[in-house]
């Protein structure tokens, strides 16, 4: 073991360091000044996240395939882009959190700390160059979100949601871990680039074992991105968790999991021309994911039609969006996935934020019928919600349209084998209009309910809402900037030698 090979580049893990440190400091703030913590914690979180954002941008010029920490951390454009989206989600969620915690009279300290740790985990997923890191990142973010789902401790629904999420999450994590273990057994390495090299060289020790290992990893990732048939937890958990936590669950971790998923499958196992088992594995996972995507979005969309609860409807809709993203995933390019995740995160955060603002204490009002006639009572909430719904339905010029268009176009052009999937997806997006319009119809075309009172909006929540709306419109009208960034490919795909 040569220590000089390790490449201990601390600058490359600066984002993770900042968020982890911030998490610890937040707990100290809470411990030493309970009173001031309520005001100080969100401010400090924001500060830390902005610093993280800055560090990611500072890392941009250093993007390369040279992995640091013995191949554990990869600092390429994929990592940096996804890290950017993850931190952006974190910032928006933090802005929304203070009002949530105030309204629900919940202790603020741990919440921000947990959010920081979750962000650390997500960032690790994006930067992971090794299966070990993928798993660690995944668990860090998952455990934090399990706890956040149950943060409203006196609420039975939230407890149930948290427990269910925890049980099923652990179940899927077991699959993921077992899959990783088998993959290690079959290839002799956990380094993703190393696995790829072994596949290309045709030096897999136990091909059968690798096949099972990859299948099991697919189960684990499939659970986290909530695609059929591993999506069943989503509606229950999303509905039960406090709406703000649902917003976090539906965005940040999903973005991060897609990053890791891309790293492991599109990069590590994206070997269509490898000899023997390498090509077979590629074919297998492409076919399996195509079917999973088709079932996932069809199931999600059709079941969403019958929903009368806003959160449940958005949960099924997120299953459908996961399906659309998978279409981009199947091109094995990161750009379509990255762009779709960006647009999806913006509109989901926005939509959930409004649901939270309208829901009242304890998520009392989340039925769509509760929104009757509020259209012109609270235009500052109803119009944004309408924009998010239309964006999710894929109406131009909103970002959702651009995301869908870019994904579908990329898939259509990249391979004729994916065209059937694009057609299925377009039919699906037509079906989806039906339920996305439903809240709009209820808000604007129904007589108002009598007991509606205008919700209070803190300046921070308003800022968060503004960011999501402007983002939703901006990336619909001017997607070029983001797409240019996504076109950047890290040059020189030579990875450091596999350790051992």
């Amino acid at each position: 073991m040569q220590f000089s090979n390790l490449n201990l580049d601390y600058f490359s893990i600066l984002p993770e360091i900042i968020t982890a440190l911030a998490g610890v400091i937040l707990m100290l703030i809470d411990a030493f000044s309970k009173k001031a913590g309520r005001k100080l914690s969100p401010m400090f979180s924001l500060f830390a996240l902005v610093a993280t954002l800055a560090s990611i941008i500072a890392l941009w010029p250093r993007a390369s395939y040279t992995a640091s920490f013995a191949g554990m951390i990869v600092n390429d454009h994929l990592r940096l882009y996804f890290a950017l989206v993850i931190v952006a989600c974190g910032i928006i969620a933090t802005l929304l959190a203070s009002q949530f915690l105030d309204d629900e009279a919940l202790p603020p300290g741990e919440f921000y700390a947990l959010m920081m740790f979750a962000t650390t985990g997500m960032l690790m997923m994006a930067s992971a160059g090794d299966l070990v890191m993928v798993f660690l990142g995944l668990e860090t973010s998952s455990i934090a979100t399990y706890v956040m789902a149950g943060y409203r401790r006196t609420d039975l629904r939230a407890n149930e949601s948290s427990l269910k999420y925890f049980l099923l999450g652990s179940f899927s994590a077991a699959f993921l871990l077992y899959g990783m273990a088998l993959t290690y057994g079959a290839t002799g390495t956990t380094n993703i680039e190393g696995i790829r090299q072994i596949l290309i060289a045709g030096k897999v020790i136990y091909p059968q074992m690798l096949l099972v290992g990859v299948a099991m990893m697919l189960v684990g990732f499939g659970f986290k991105i909530a695609t059929a048939p591993f999506h069943l937890w989503t509606p229950d958990v999303y509905e039960g968790a406090p709406t703000l936590v649902t917003a976090i669950l539906a965005t940040g971790p999903k973005v991060a999991v897609f990053a890791a998923f891309l790293r492991v499958f599109a990069e590590g196992l994206g070997t269509p021309t490898a000899p023997a088992v390498g090509a077979q594995i590629y074919d297998n996972w492409i076919n399996a994911l195509a079917v999973m995507a088709a079932i996932g979005m069809t199931f999600g969309n059709i079941v969403a039609l019958a929903q009368r609860n806003m959160k449940r409807m958005l949960a099924y809709s997120s299953i459908a969006h996961g399906g659309y993203t998978l279409i981009g995933f199947l091109t094995t390019e990161y750009a379509p996935v990255g762009f779709y995740m960006l647009t999806y995160a913006l509109m989901s955060l926005g939509a959930f934020a409004i649901v939270q603002m309208l829901a009242r204490e304890g998520d009392a009002k989340t039925e769509i019928s509760d929104y009757a006639g509020i259209g012109f009572e609270v235009p500052n909430l109803s119009f944004p919600l309408a924009i998010f719904m239309l964006s999710m339905a894929g109406i131009p010029p909103m970002a959702g349209f651009m995301g869908k268009f870019y994904v579908f176009k990329s898939a259509w052009v990249s391979s004729p084998n994916l065209r059937w999937l694009v057609i299925v997806a377009i039919i699906n997006s037509i079906i989806s209009v039906y339920y996305y319009l439903y809240p709009i119809v209820v808000m604007f075309f129904r007589p108002p309910v009598s007991d509606f009172t205008k919700p209070r909006l803190s300046p921070m929540s308003q800022l968060a809402l503004a960011i999501t709306i402007i983002g939703t419109l901006y990336f619909g009208l001017f997607p070029n900037g983001a797409l240019k960034v996504l076109q950047q490919k890290t040059p020189g795909a030579q990875q450091v030698a596999v350790q051992k």
């Binding site: 099972v212 048939p229 591993f230 176009k409 037509i430 604007f444 070029n480 076109q487």
Partner: protein
């Protein structure tokens, strides 16, 4: 300049939407009409000073606003294209649009949502102009969806009415079915031409010719040959069918009449619904490369024209009659496109915009005067109460019926003649289509006459109960009426007069050569319209297929006598229709109509039963209730019963569910592993 044509109404929309509620009706009227007026002035200015002075054949004005999306080989801009086709469209869109805005200030007076209405209406103008001026298929799609959205908002404008919301939703969803075709069409077009632009563009440093230029160079696909051009054309046509309410996607348009009448006039008669025709004409280079596509367009158009006209005869709601009439007239336009006479189609779009907007606004004036009564069975004798409305609507009636020297006559006659003489389709078919179109012309005259007779002539039937209207006649002549019809205010009937004038003179830009005209509009439009390849390879036809000047030469060879005879036939048919309608409905205004027609062939019911209910049922009863809840709940209970026990004591404990989810995940995992290892 071009961008300000589109953006003026957008600014108006924002001002009305955000400030309108505070600043009141006067301000909103001024801003809304003013912004459209600015747009109209700019449109006329651009058209007459920028476009017309250019030499014939090179009349293209482009304006780059910003690069919207450029990634890899794909490029779509926010850029505008003004050529004879879009030029014609923006003139009548802004012109008719302005008149309808002015009218609407009177019609919507006193409505509490006044500002909202005009915000939507201005937004619509923005979207419609973007649609028409967009220089690529994707920007066109922005306008396309945008007008759909505004239409949705405006159909559902009367929030207190349940059916308005439902109609709005229906319109949007049916349109989305059309968008399905459009979206895939754009994808296929891009993979075929690597361009979605109507003008040549530099993409990635390479000059890529416009998709129209490239399409024009492709070989013609004969009837039955299903090549790539047929695919693109048909996919785009699916989109056009949705927007322009053709069979089988026409069902939304009649329901859309739930919106305020100016909306029906502007969106659902004059402008938005003709977007499909615009798309077809814009992509004529693609359509003419596929004879199959042309054939389908023509047949769908002719069938829709006939189908809707028969329904129109039996409707009793004044707006529904006009709605079906619009569907029918749109069918004419597609028929024209299908037989290769795109210019005739556009000509009819224009004249139709004038007279149908006139008729709708007239109907609005009648409804206004009758205090929101829409059933023509409860009208009658209104001509003495509403002289201006009556006079102007009479012009519209005669124009749409095809009475000579009015605008509708010229355009409809052109379509009929082009259908008969078309070489783009098999001869037998063109004759059949011509016959269908002629029969439709007869029906049109009949139902429009019925509408006029029931509304303006005869006895006053204001008190007849709705449900008994068709058999109970008026007994209480001298009794005091509950309703006092009155003429609408000036601000409403002046636009009617202007539109009436346009309905009279609008046709003279397209008088055919056989009648001593020069058919100016056809000459003007023909450089941007591709010529259809002839079906039979005659000497004239082959020449026509290759060069446009040869086509003009072929036109000169038209048998002038035959054309005049055919014009004669149309005139006879028009008068016959009016005569029939007049005698039938003055004698017995409330005669019972066939219930099949009155119920619109039960199309809505059939769609509900065949498509909507199964999907919703599957969602609600199968996928959700069964797969999501019942597979767990029901299966448990079912099996529990099987074992003679009930297991409901722990209903609140949902861990049972989590276990079931885990089981399903496990099944998924096992299947996945099986697939991976045994494939």
């Amino acid at each position: 300049m071009l961008k300000w044509i589109t953006f003026a109404p957008l600014i108006g929309a924002l001002l009305c939407g955000f400030l309108g509620k505070k600043l009141g009706e006067k301000f909103v009227s001024l801003v809304a009409c003013g912004s459209v007026a600015v747009s109209m002035v700019l449109a006329f200015f651009a058209f007459f000073t920028k476009l017309l002075p250019l030499p014939e054949g090179q009349r293209v004005v482009t304006e780059h606003f910003f690069t919207w999306i450029e990634v890899g080989t794909f490029r779509a801009d926010f850029a505008y294209l003004l050529d004879p086709l879009s030029g014609t469209y923006i003139l009548f869109i802004t012109g008719v649009g302005l008149l309808i805005h002015i009218y609407a200030t009177g019609y919507m007076h006193g409505d509490e949502g006044f500002y909202r209405f005009f915000a939507y209406l201005n937004l619509f103008m923005f979207m419609m102009l973007t649609l028409v001026l967009g220089d690529n298929l994707l920007l066109l799609f922005v306008g396309w969806e945008g007008v759909g959205l505004c239409s949705y908002l405006l159909i559902g404008y009367y929030i207190e009415r349940q059916e308005a919301g439902d109609a709005a939703k229906k319109a949007f969803i049916v349109n989305r079915i059309g968008d399905f075709g459009y979206s895939i069409g754009v994808m296929v077009a891009f993979t075929t031409f690597t361009s979605v632009s109507f003008v040549d563009k530099t993409i990635g440093g390479k000059l890529i010719p416009s998709l129209l230029t490239q399409a024009a160079e492709k070989p013609v696909e004969a009837v039955g040959a299903f090549g790539i051009m047929t695919a693109i054309a048909l996919l785009l046509f699916v989109g056009a069918c949705g927007k322009s309410a053709q069979v089988p996607l026409f069902v939304w348009l009649p329901d859309a009449m739930a919106g305020p009448t100016p909306v029906s006039a502007l969106i659902h008669a004059a402008t938005m619904v003709t977007a499909g025709v615009y798309l077809t004409a814009r992509c004529s280079a693609i359509f003419t490369r596929s004879q199959t596509a042309l054939l389908i367009v023509a047949v769908v158009g002719a069938f829709t024209a006939m189908f809707a006209a028969t329904i129109g005869i039996a409707q009793n709601d004044i707006k529904k009659v006009l709605a079906y009439s619009t569907v029918s007239q749109l069918g004419y336009m597609f028929l024209a496109c299908g037989v290769g006479a795109f210019t005739a189609g556009i000509f009819h779009v224009m004249t139709h915009a004038f007279f149908k907007a006139l008729l709708f606004l007239g109907a609005g004036s009648v409804i206004h005067g009758m205090h929101e009564e829409q059933d023509i069975r409860r009208m009658g004798g209104l001509k003495k109460y509403m002289p201006w409305t009556f006079k102007t609507m009479m012009v519209g009636w005669l124009a749409i019926s095809g009475v000579p020297l009015l605008s509708g006559f010229f355009s409809k006659d052109e379509i009929l003649w082009q259908t008969w003489s078309s070489t783009a389709l098999p001869t037998g078919l063109t004759k059949t289509l011509w016959f269908l179109a002629l029969a439709t012309a007869l029906l049109t005259a009949v139902y429009m006459t019925r509408l006029m007779v029931l509304t303006f002539w005869g006895k006053e039937r204001f008190d007849v109960a709705k449900d008994e209207g068709h058999h109970k006649t008026e007994h209480h002549e001298g009794e005091h009426h509950a309703i006092h019809p009155h003429e609408s205010p000036k601000v409403m009937w002046i636009p009617l007069v202007v539109l009436a004038v346009l309905s009279i003179v609008g046709g003279y830009v397209g008088v055919s050569a056989a009648w001593g005209g020069s058919n100016a509009i056809e000459h003007f439009l023909s450089p941007v319209i591709a010529k259809a390849a002839p079906m039979i390879d005659t000497a004239h036809g082959a020449a026509a297929a290759t060069a446009s000047h040869a086509a003009e030469a072929a036109e000169a060879h038209h048998d002038v006598t035959t054309e005049r005879i055919f014009t004669g036939i149309s005139v006879v048919v028009a008068f016959l229709g009016i005569f029939l309608g007049w005698t039938m409905f003055t004698a017995q205004p409330l005669r019972k109509m066939p219930s099949l027609l009155e119920n619109k062939y039960y199309v809505d019911e059939i769609y509900d039963a065949a498509i909507v209910n199964p999907i919703l049922g599957t969602s609600r009863n199968f996928l959700w209730r069964i797969l999501d809840v019942k597979i767990i709940d029901g299966a448990i209970n079912g099996i529990a019963h099987l074992f003679g026990e009930t297991g409901s004591t722990m209903r609140f404990l949902q861990t049972g569910f989590a276990r079931s989810y885990a089981a399903i995940m496990l099944v998924g995992a096992i299947v996945l592993i099986l697939y991976f290892t045994f494939r």
